[in-house]
């Protein structure tokens, strides 16, 4: 560690997150590797180290001979200040070499509000922000993650994007880079070649043209780039690499436990959910694989808590078998097993008792909407009866606190729908009174409402977001309705962050200057309340002459060219449009397990059948 770094570390909070050295970090001899990759996560260490995608790809790249992948994270504000005042560029944890010394700089982007961190990290590294200002093969900047299904707001800054699951594609990319470096290709040649890899999108090879009304009129592929780039998927998850000998952080992180990924994709098709469409098709690991991976993880890490994580964990087909196998292993060893994201409709008594055997964790339901009509419209196929039945079981089983998640501002929502949230919560409360074993203890009902953000690749991708004033009126209405019941804690958010999310999620290339300006104004770490500064954002939009409403509250006509039209996640656009019609008719679409409704994602899965 250099002397300057050593001197600033005592001045900052939680210095352990800046120095690496954790158990199972990977160190190679930098003189013996051909390609060095700085894997940058555009948020703090605590968030980034909790991300499974990053852990998988860190392992994938380091399993390659001659390739050394290291980690870098966004520094907290106090550290950034120290770095800037001492002229210390951003470094990678393993070697502590500056990020600007690396061949490739990879970002994992899962949240729109981390875009400014990407720019800030490049800036802190002393790397030119614009791809066009970076000549040659040194410092190739690329990105993957869910946000890259519409990377346009970042287009000028990225050399290319890796779409979909990276287990295979990342290897192909790094191999191609290795060859390019060896054969001394120039950058345009490398970009042309990398664009030929299925799943790679090179923004500079697409020209975006606009009509007079400001809408996108045409996307023109250049230099032989494909008209559409389709995301990649892993065909066989049982055979795919999963990090079972992984870094154990020396300091506490957000998800400080073992993460076991059961399956990818989701059978449900909730119409607001981007992950639900983008991660299709549904592919599961077998219980045998999962139990083996769990054992390896426990033994190698020494951690004592396992989370089963997937989009809708209780939809795992062989859950009883898996739960039994895991509990047999976990119980005698005092290892906690937790099952997040359970759905109210299949949260069984039996399953709950199994979970409870090890540890009583929180009870959370996400009905998302108050009326059955609106739940049908968003295809959240949960009935009031199911929610109440699950709650009754839980309350009778001794639970005395429950969390209920809803969204406000969903398409077709009326005041009646909003007030129905309060009615449903009231019924949950009555259900507690009838079923609790201990009335004296009381109950806490935590209700949380989020502000709906329309996302690309969902049936609601054409929808307008509510104007913030209207959203606030609905929040107020709900607050008033909750005043009567003292057992309810109502948690709601200001619309600012969600409004920006709506702009960035469906933004085009004209948002890029706004991001750049925002970072100049000091915007960073937007996901953190301590730093989120809406005023600075508004100033950045004003300075660039960009209107938020054009992106947030404007409904797109069906025929409008969308910025993400050159990208495919496998689900056909016509399917999304038909789902939108279904929503307007409040008609549900059966889940993938009940009936295939032909979304198109199955065509990506050439070596298997969805949800088998």
């Amino acid at each position: 560690m250099n002397r300057e770094m050593e001197r600033i570390l005592p001045q900052v909070q939680k210095p352990a997150r800046y120095v690496g050295g954790e158990y199972r970090q990977i160190v190679k001899n930098k003189n013996e590797v051909d390609v060095r990759v700085a894997f940058c996560f555009p948020d703090t260490y605590e968030i980034g180290m909790s991300n499974i995608g990053m852990r998988i790809l860190y392992g994938v790249m380091n399993n390659m001979d001659g390739v050394w992948c290291e980690r870098a994270f966004a520094p907290w504000g106090d550290m950034e200040e120290q770095m800037r005042s001492h002229n210390i560029p951003l470094w990678a944890l393993e070697s502590q070499d500056p990020v600007k010394d690396f061949d490739m700089i990879a970002f994992s982007v899962g949240y729109e509000m981390s875009y400014t961190n990407i720019l800030n990290m490049l800036n802190l590294s002393g790397i030119p922000l614009h791809a066009s200002e970076r000549e040659g093969l040194h410092n190739i900047v690329f990105a993957g993650g869910t946000c890259m299904y519409n990377p346009e707001p970042l287009a000028p800054f990225l050399d290319f994007c890796s779409l979909g699951e990276g287990e295979d594609l990342t290897i192909e990319i790094v191999e191609l880079y290795r060859r390019a470096k060896l054969e001394q290709w120039d950058k345009p040649r490398f970009l042309r070649e990398v664009a030929k890899l299925p799943g790679v999108y090179v923004p500079s090879l697409y020209e975006h043209r606009y009509a007079e009304d400001g809408t996108l009129s045409e996307i023109v592929p250049l230099d032989g780039a494909p008209k559409t780039v389709t995301k990649r998927i892993v065909q066989n998850l049982d055979a795919a690499y999963y990090p079972t000998k992984a870094i154990v952080p020396s300091t506490e992180i957000v998800h400080d436990r073992i993460n076991l990924e059961l399956f990818r994709g989701c059978i449900r098709g909730c119409r607001f959910c981007q992950a639900g469409y983008c991660y299709r098709p549904v592919r599961a690991k077998t219980p045998e694989t999962l139990i083996r991976q769990a054992k390896e993880l426990v033994e190698d890490s020494g951690m004592t808590e396992i989370t089963l994580s997937s989009l809708s964990t209780s939809d795992y087909k062989r859950l009883p078998e898996l739960a039994d196998g895991l509990l047999d292993y976990c119980m005698p060893r005092n290892i906690n097993l937790s099952l997040p994201s359970l759905r109210a409709d299949n949260f069984s008594d039996e399953l709950m008792q199994k979970v409870q055997k090890v540890r009583k964790s929180g009870l959370t339901f996400a009905p998302e909407a108050g009326t059955q009509r609106l739940r049908d419209a968003i295809n959240k196929n949960v009935t009031e009866e199911e929610v109440l039945r699950s709650c009754a079981t839980a309350f009778a089983g001794g639970w005395s606190s429950v969390k209920l998640y809803f969204m406000l501002g969903l398409p077709t929502e009326t005041d009646e729908d909003v007030l129905a949230i309060a009615d449903l919560v009231e019924k949950v409360w009555l259900c507690w009174r009838e079923n609790t074993t201990n009335r004296a203890r009381g109950v806490r009902i935590h209700v949380s409402t989020a502000f709906f953000v329309p996302k690309p690749f969902t049936p609601f991708q054409w929808e307008a977001q509510l104007p913030p004033e209207e959203y606030q009126r609905r929040v107020q209405m709900l607050r008033d309705a909750f005043r009567r019941n003292r057992s309810v804690d109502y948690d709601y958010h200001a619309p600012d962050l969600s409004r920006l999310e709506a702009v960035l999620a469906r933004g085009d290339r004209r948002i890029a200057p706004v991001l750049e300006r925002a970072v100049e104004l000091g915007v960073k770490l937007d996901g953190w309340d301590e730093y989120f500064d809406y005023k600075k954002w508004l100033q950045a939009f004003a300075d660039c002459g960009v209107d938020l409403d054009f992106y947030a509250t404007r409904e797109r006509p069906c025929e409008e060219v969308l910025p993400w039209d050159s990208i495919s996640v496998g689900v056909r656009k016509e399917y999304l449009a038909s789902e939108r019609k279904q929503a307007y008719a409040s008609r549900i679409t059966p889940d993938c397990r009940t009936k295939c409704t032909g979304c198109g994602a199955n065509l990506l899965y050439t070596e298997g059948n969805c949800d088998d």
Binding site: E6, P15, S250, E299
Partner: protein, 221 residues
């Protein structure tokens, strides 16, 4: 009681005391060594660490005591297994052994403070610092949990200080200070230099704990 002597250096110096405890729990799990737990209503593990080390300080004499659930595992074997199972960079068990001596028998510790001067050691600094610690009273400010920032006389808690200029840019202080109830953080010696001899204030200091002693001044094991 099984006692481990371990070092904490390199990047591990930035691991806080609390994180270090958790790190050890995981290391024991990895080595498949179970710690005995108390029988009370809220069982907790029989494990204790002597004299928490400040973040940023190195040490070659940290002590961790525990009671192993399986008494057939010898302390030597446990130490070997822990090292083999792996630690973060900079943590190594130096020795595992049995001991019945209580941690409260620790009376003092010796630390090396390397004071760095980027523009060279000021003329006569070595002598001035040496004289500073001969004073009858040296006050330093310290954070107290109950009273906030307080002024204390640290002189009675300093048992010995050796001052030596190592080269044109470094002065090395080797200090033996009181440890246990109450302890003197060696950092306060640097604070004293800064306060009484502002012109001899170092640009940076590296502190390494070298040894812990019992009340009689013998190395504590």
């Amino acid at each position: 009681m099984t006692r481990f002597l371990f070092c904490k250096e390199g990047t591990a110096v930035w691991i806080s005391h609390l994180d270090l405890q958790r790190m050890f729990q995981r290391a024991f799990n990895r080595a498949k060594i179970q710690i005995a737990v108390t029988n009370g209503f809220n069982p907790h593990a029989y494990v204790a660490m002597a004299l928490p080390l400040s973040v940023g300080m190195e040490s070659q004499c940290e002590i961790l005591d525990c009671r192993l659930a399986d008494e057939s595992i010898s302390p030597e074997e446990a130490a070997e297994r822990l090292n083999r199972a792996g630690f973060p960079e900079g943590i190594t068990i130096l020795k595992g052994y049995s001991s019945d001596r209580k941690l409260r028998e620790i009376g003092s510790l010796c630390a090396r403070l390397m004071m760095e001067y980027d523009n060279g050691v000021p003329e006569g600094a070595e002598e001035r610092i040496r004289e500073l610690f001969l004073r009858e009273e040296i006050t330093a400010s310290k954070h107290s949990k109950k009273k906030g920032q307080i002024e204390i006389n640290i002189r009675p808690m300093i048992l010995d200080v050796q001052v030596a200029q190592k080269n044109t840019c470094q002065i090395e202080m080797t200090a033996t200070v009181q440890a246990g109830e109450p302890s003197l953080n060696p950092e306060l010696l640097v604070q004293a230099v800064t306060r009484y001899l502002p012109e001899d204030r170092p640009d940076a200091v590296k502190i390494r704990r070298l040894e812990v002693f019992d009340q009689e001044g013998n190395a504590f094991r």
